[in-house]
């Protein structure tokens, strides 16, 4: 009887090599990029919340304001819809009249094309309730670069949301808001920028009881992107000098509250639709990698903030007192 052939012929060798290379490539591709991307992004489309809210149900007075801070929610996916639905449910029990968007409000396409998916549908209950929306420009390219496409994108966001400018100030009840465009090169770089000078002047002329600064890139963050280079050197002195109370930012997709520095509380609220890991730094008081938004209530000289998950549970609570009379934060 003829002995079995043990060597591979050309066809078998080719097929075996192809299969081996394919499996190795598949493993590298899956664990190196594809599966982490599926885990990190919010790609599965979701249904918009279907809630009826009472319009203008919030209170705004000389000493009272409620608002929500939400960052990086621009996916239109299930997770973004879950956060938006919880915001609408929170409105039912604790109405608020303002949503401060902390940037990155559109992923996976152009804002003009995805306006309905990433903004109008998720926020429809709040839009119908006539809640105001204000935007701090973000840069989901994660680079402080100006490109033509980036400029077009920002212009579209300003136009469709009715935002007065790339950086601007608004006043609601006892709170003055200062929205910055941290995507501008030079905001944190060497040499004074026009925006920093404007901020300094605007803060100096603010007479309201509370000063809240909103920008996309965080000054203090223990997350994946971390503290923005140059921010502590360039921006923080201005904030310290003008006695800002609260700084809200996004960019890192988690919740984090830092130890108050010179009476300023820094909060990262970037869990609008995705989550990234967060560690602990010397400046971290509370941090969690979770979907969330921050609900803030201001009443006279007290400000209380609550970070809320999509299921209604609380991540963190903090309380501040107005600058007059006492400095520092009380958690």
């Amino acid at each position: 009887m003829t002995r079995p052939r043990t060597r591979l012929n050309r066809r078998e060798f080719l097929a075996a090599g192809l299969g081996t290379a394919g499996v190795v490539a598949a493993g590298a591709t899956l664990f190196g990029g594809v599966l982490p991307r599926l885990a990190h992004e919010d790609l599965v489309p979701g249904r918009a919340p279907d809630l009826q809210l009472t319009p203008n149900d919030w209170h705004v007075g000389p000493g009272r304001l409620s608002f929500v801070a939400l960052g990086d929610n621009g996916s239109g996916g299930r997770q973004a819809m879950a956060v938006a639905e919880q915001m609408a449910r929170t409105y039912q029990t604790q109405p608020f009249g303002l949503v401060s968007l902390l940037g990155d409000i559109c992923y996976y396409g152009r804002f003009a094309d995805r306006f309905d998916d990433v903004f109008r549908r998720p926020m429809e209950p709040l839009i119908d309730a006539e809640v105001n929306f204000e935007l701090a420009i973000g840069n989901h390219d994660a680079a402080l670069n100006h490109s033509d496409a980036s400029i077009e994108e920002i212009e579209a966001e300003l136009e469709l949301l009715g935002t007065p400018g790339r950086y601007y100030t608004t006043s609601h009840g006892p709170v003055d808001f200062f929205y910055l465009d941290s995507s501008t090169p030079g905001l944190f770089g060497v040499g004074a920028s026009e925006q920093l000078e404007w901020l300094d002047d605007a803060l100096a002329s603010s007479t309201n009881e509370w000063k809240v600064v909103a920008l996309h890139h965080p000054i203090y963050s223990a997350g994946e992107h971390g503290s923005t280079p140059g921010a502590q050197e360039r921006l923080q002195p201005v904030l310290d000098r003008r006695a800002v109370d609260l700084v809200l930012s996004g960019h890192d997709h988690h919740y984090e509250r830092a130890v108050p520095a010179d009476g300023i509380t820094y909060v990262v609220s970037g869990g609008g639709c995705k989550t990234t890991r967060v560690g602990r730094s010397d400046f971290t008081v509370a941090a969690e990698s979770t979907l969330q938004f921050v609900h803030v209530e201001v009443q006279d000289d007290r400000l209380s903030g609550t970070s809320i998950r999509p299921d209604g549970t609380v991540v963190d609570r903090f309380r501040l007192r107005a600058r007059e009379g006492r400095r520092g934060a009380m958690a």
Binding site: L35, R78, R309
Partner: protein, 211 residues
């Protein structure tokens, strides 16, 4: 373990790997939710869809392997084809999903808001991946196996061939008196002796040869 048990165990292991390859994308999507310990975000439907498709594909792969074990002229053909099928499955079950979801976000969002179940899109994409993998495995196996005359001439079959059905005619009937027939012993030709081989051309009758 017997050889059959080893074959079954290896085929089962391969089927489990295929199942996990189909389930991996759904688990990845649910991972961030699971890590954050958040309820109400959803995702169980796509996990369920992946479990169903993965289990069905694992069963099909297992049956294919067991069938190929019996028919393959070389066992290596079966495993080379399965390796290629696994590579296609691993890549297509995840990459195809990523491409489909990233390429048409507007269309998908509009569909979702009109009430179209997104899980159908997910399941359809994974079904395409499974079909591609099965087709790859079967075509590769067919391509590797020799066909026609080459297959008939192949003498190194690893496993015995599938037993052929018995013929209806089983030979002469048994005697009516119950006696056991004495089978005829065939007479084999006696090989020529050395002397005879040395003198070719001389024929010696069978009866005169000494044994």
């Amino acid at each position: 373990m017997t050889r059959r048990q080893v074959d079954i165990a290896v085929a089962t292991g391969y089927a489990v790997v295929c199942f996990l390859a189909v389930l991996a994308p759904a688990l990845a999507v649910r991972w961030s939710v699971f890590k954050s310990d958040i309820e109400g975000v959803g995702g169980r439907d796509i996990v369920a869809a992946s479990v169903i498709i993965g289990a069905a594909h694992a069963a099909v792969a297992w049956v294919r392997l067991r069938s190929e074990e019996r028919t393959a002229l070389r066992r290596s053909h079966m495993w080379i084809a399965s390796l290629n099928a696994l590579a296609v499955l691993s890549l297509s079950s995840s990459v195809l999903l990523l491409v489909v979801l990233l390429s048409f976000p507007d269309t998908h969002a509009a569909m979702a808001n009109r009430g179209f179940p997104v899980v159908v899109l997910w399941a359809a994409t994974q079904l395409v991946a499974v079909i591609l993998a099965e087709a790859t495995g079967r075509v590769m196996f067919w391509w590797l196996e020799p066909h026609g005359a080459e297959a008939r001439a192949c003498k190194w079959r690893v496993l015995p061939a599938i037993p052929r059905p018995r013929l209806l005619n089983r030979g002469p009937a048994a005697p009516a008196d119950g006696s056991v027939p004495i089978p005829e012993v065939p007479v084999l030709p006696v090989p020529p002796t050395a002397t005879e081989r040395a003198r070719p051309g001389r024929l010696v009758p069978l009866e005169s040869r000494s044994r």
